[in-house]
């Protein structure tokens, strides 16, 4: 099934193309890595899918619907920078999410927070950056969505927590949903990816099954990425 379909998408800021002629189809039941250097266009693409930016031209369909109120209900989005009110206690944020999203499973969120040793009576502002990121991820993964979009979810956390987060993503994702993870920390994450999308200079350079690409290039995804973009 086509979960996400993007046809001839372009995005210009002034005269500069930020995204150029993007065509992309994503089906359900997949974990997909959106990989690219800083400034390649990853976040712009994600924001367009989430209806936070308007494309210059082109079409985006999510389960056949154009982006808007309906599609926001079925996309669970973790932005690169948190929008949560840091003066709130985690417990209050949970209630806020439960009010705001019909598909938010508060019991599941509480369980995940407990597993991560996070105190729901604590103010967000009193938590470390890594702890705040974990809270953000728990909130997003506790919604029963069709598409999860995580923009750089691993940036501020230590390697052990990174593994825990990846395992959380793996064990919480179901075959009806897909997860798009944008990152430049490729080697940490590539073991869980079904597909990778390399985005460079606003265009899709590669969209492939992960193991097929490894076999074809006889290298890790991280290595292939480095070779291709020489960084």
């Amino acid at each position: 099934m086509e979960l996400l379909k993007i046809n001839n998408l372009n995005k210009k800021f002034d005269d500069k193309y930020i995204l150029k002629d993007i065509n992309l189809t994503i089906s359900n039941g997949k974990i997909i890595g959106l990989l690219g250097k800083n400034g390649a266009g990853k976040t712009t693409l994600i924001k367009i899918i989430n209806d936070l930016l308007t494309p210059t031209s082109g079409e985006i369909l999510i389960k056949g619907n154009k982006v808007g109120v309906e599609t926001k209900k079925i996309i669970s989005y973790l932005p690169e920078r948190t929008y949560l009110n840091k003066q709130m206690k985690v417990k209050e944020i949970l209630n806020y999410f439960a009010d705001f999203y019909e598909n938010f499973d508060i019991q599941k969120a509480k369980k995940l927070l407990e597993d991560l040793d996070l105190d729901i009576n604590q103010n967000l502002s009193k938590m470390s950056k890594g702890m705040q990121e974990k809270v953000g991820l728990v909130l997003v993964m506790s919604r029963e969505a069709d598409l999860y979009i995580l923009d750089e979810p691993l940036g501020g956390v230590d390697p052990a927590t990174r593994d825990y987060i990846l395992d959380t993503i793996l064990s919480n994702f179901n075959e009806n949903a897909s997860v798009i993870i944008s990152t430049h920390l490729i080697s940490d994450i590539e073991r869980i990816l079904d597909e990778v999308i390399f985005i460079d200079n606003g265009s899709i350079a590669i969209h492939s099954n992960t193991d097929e690409l490894r076999t074809k290039e006889n290298a890790s995804i991280d290595e292939i990425f480095r070779r291709m973009f020489k960084c």
């Binding site: 992960t210 097929e212 991280d222």
Partner: protein, 119 residues
């Protein structure tokens, strides 16, 4: 157990290797029911789709089979497992000799080294 994967090699191939060792060493015995794809994926900490691919590969080698409603089972054919063990041992032996050859040691000398190893 912590499973370590080499990102340079397709994950399903590495999973296939782990699974073969399970069958050879009798972790799962002939005719025994296997855990579900989901359970396997959780214990290996890999994507269920990748796990599925490794299991399909194992199935196409006739080492496991699917009973439509009951799940997956290890083959009843013990000879097949013995053959797998033989092939696997041969591969390991070959890679040992290759390594020795690289440092200029022939087969006879290499075997002497094996004899020097205490179990």
């Amino acid at each position: 157990m912590e499973f370590v994967f080499d990102n340079n090699i397709p994950i399903y191939i590495q999973l296939l290797d782990y699974l073969k060792i399970y069958l050879i060493s009798g972790v799962f015995k002939s005719g025994e029911k296997l855990p579900s794809v989901r359970e396997f994926a959780t214990s290996f900490k890999v994507n269920p789709n990748t796990m599925q691919k490794a299991l399909s590969e194992l199935e196409s080698m006739k080492l496991i089979y699917t009973e439509r409603t009951n799940g997956k089972f290890v083959t009843e054919d013990k000879e097949l497992i013995e053959k797998l063990k033989d092939e696997y041992a041969l591969t390991l032996a070959k890679s040992y000799f290759q390594g020795m050859k690289r440092i200029g040691l022939g087969k006879a000398e290499s075997i002497k080294y094996l004899e020097r190893i205490d179990e």
